[in-house]
């Protein structure tokens, strides 16, 4: 009976270690934070070109992550891309109505993300509002084309 007690203890410790390991993988490795799902609000922004922006991309403000892209779809009224953003609840009714959204690139070859810059309007953006002032992704081919056409016209 005594032998079986130590065995039970060993198996118990083994399973506990497994659960703790999973916790480590969740918290430390995948950076999971226990945030309830309801603490974000939605903003929409229309971009003429989103480049290679993907759902789940970061939304930042002065470099601080404040939300993420929840979905991207084609707006058939205007034929541009409608990007739905999920922003921290703490920023609801705190962003001015003339906030601008730009699609930026992290580093030279990095992933694309949305950068927000606040304006000066006293009116603020609430849940479901649309950001009017947007700046599309920089597409390298278009830049080169502009450069070449400027060279020719000179």
């Amino acid at each position: 009976m005594k032998r079986s007690k130590t065995m039970e203890l060993g198996v118990g410790l083994f399973m506990l270690a497994g659960i703790l390991g999973l916790l480590f993988l969740g918290l430390r490795v995948s950076g999971l934070a226990f945030s309830p799902p309801g603490d974000t609000f939605r903003l929409e922004a229309n971009f003429a070109n989103i480049g290679s922006l993907k759902p789940r991309a970061r939304v930042t403000m002065s470099g601080v992550t404040v939300g993420r892209v929840s979905s991207i779809e084609l707006d058939t009224d205007w034929y541009d891309a409608r990007v739905i953003l999920e922003i921290d609840r703490a920023l609801e009714d705190r962003l001015s109505r003339d906030t601008t959204a730009a699609i930026l690139t992290a580093g030279l070859l990095g992933e694309q993300y949305v950068g927000l810059t606040v304006g000066g309007d006293p009116e603020t953006l609430g849940d479901g509002d649309t950001i009017r002032d947007t700046q599309s992704a920089v597409v390298l081919e278009e830049l080169i084309q502009q450069f070449v056409s400027n060279m020719i016209s000179d």
Binding site: S4, E8, V11, F14, G21, L25, L32
Partner: protein, 260 residues
């Protein structure tokens, strides 16, 4: 010529028969109400296949993490991207290496032992005697081993990942001087709990099922001679390694293969 076709046909029939037998066998032994005694039997097997496999799995995990950090660093430093070391180590461990290598080690360490044990029980007619005294060998011998395997391998895989990531940290941060914040920070930014950790766990559950099933069935179905036992043990390791590697490709294609 006719002789060859006939032989091929017989092989095919035998293969199908064995597959059918093993499926029936899995269902019969995995289903069943666990009694209090059954729980003790499971505990004992858990100790054998889980706790005692811990050493080899953790040591391999540590070394694989360390080697990956070293190799990754020498490549990434050429592009000035050694900050991405953490995410490289973590993603390759969680998605591929931990489930596959842990399953291979498990097949060699625990699977072969299960086959040999059950095979020897069969060869010495212990299984038949159990049936004679009214004890179902599938529930008494096979079921605890199957369930212990199902539970133990995913836990071992978690241990492998954790130790591997820590090994990468030791080499990358402590030895080669990657900035600690970027090691963990880039890892947290790129690893998705459901998409990477979760899919890795699904993989290791599937591997646990396949490896334990093969091991136990090979033991139960062997020809009860000393040669039969040695052949079945070899077959367990070969079949389960091939099954794990093949299934890994299929599962990876299903989980990470969509080009969205």
């Amino acid at each position: 010529m006719i002789q060859r076709i006939w032989r091929l046909g017989r092989r095919g029939c035998e293969l199908l028969e064995a597959l059918g037998r093993s499926g029936q066998f899995l269902l019969q032994s995995a289903v069943g109400v666990p009694s209090r005694e059954g729980w003790y039997l499971w505990l004992r097997q858990m100790h054998f296949v889980g706790v005692l496999s811990l050493a080899i799995v953790l040591v391999s995990g540590l070394f694989i993490g360390m080697v990956m950090a070293l190799q990754g660093y020498t490549i990434l430093v050429d592009f000035g991207a050694e900050q991405a070391l953490g995410q490289m180590v973590a993603l390759s461990l969680l998605r591929e290496l931990a489930p596959v290598v842990a399953a291979l080690l498990f097949a060699g360490r625990a699977g072969s032992a299960l086959t040999a044990e059950i095979g020897l029980m069969k060869a010495t007619e212990q299984l038949t005697s159990m049936e004679m005294i009214g004890v179902d060998p599938l529930r008494r011998v096979v079921a605890p081993r199957l369930w212990a395997g199902f539970v133990a391998l995913p836990l071992l895989t978690i241990g492998f990942s954790v130790v591997g990531i820590y090994g990468g940290y030791l080499v990358g941060v402590e030895w080669l001087g990657v900035f600690e914040g970027s090691y963990w920070g880039n890892m947290q930014a790129s690893v998705d709990f459901v998409g990477d950790v979760g899919n890795g766990m699904v993989k290791s559950l599937v591997f646990a099922l396949v490896v334990t099933w093969i091991a136990v069935f090979q033991g139960y179905d062997l020809i009860p001679t000393s040669e039969g036992i040695s052949r079945a043990t070899t077959r367990t390791v070969v079949y389960s390694s091939l099954a794990v590697l093949g299934l890994d490709f299929v599962l990876t294609a299903l989980m990470f293969g969509e080009f969205s």
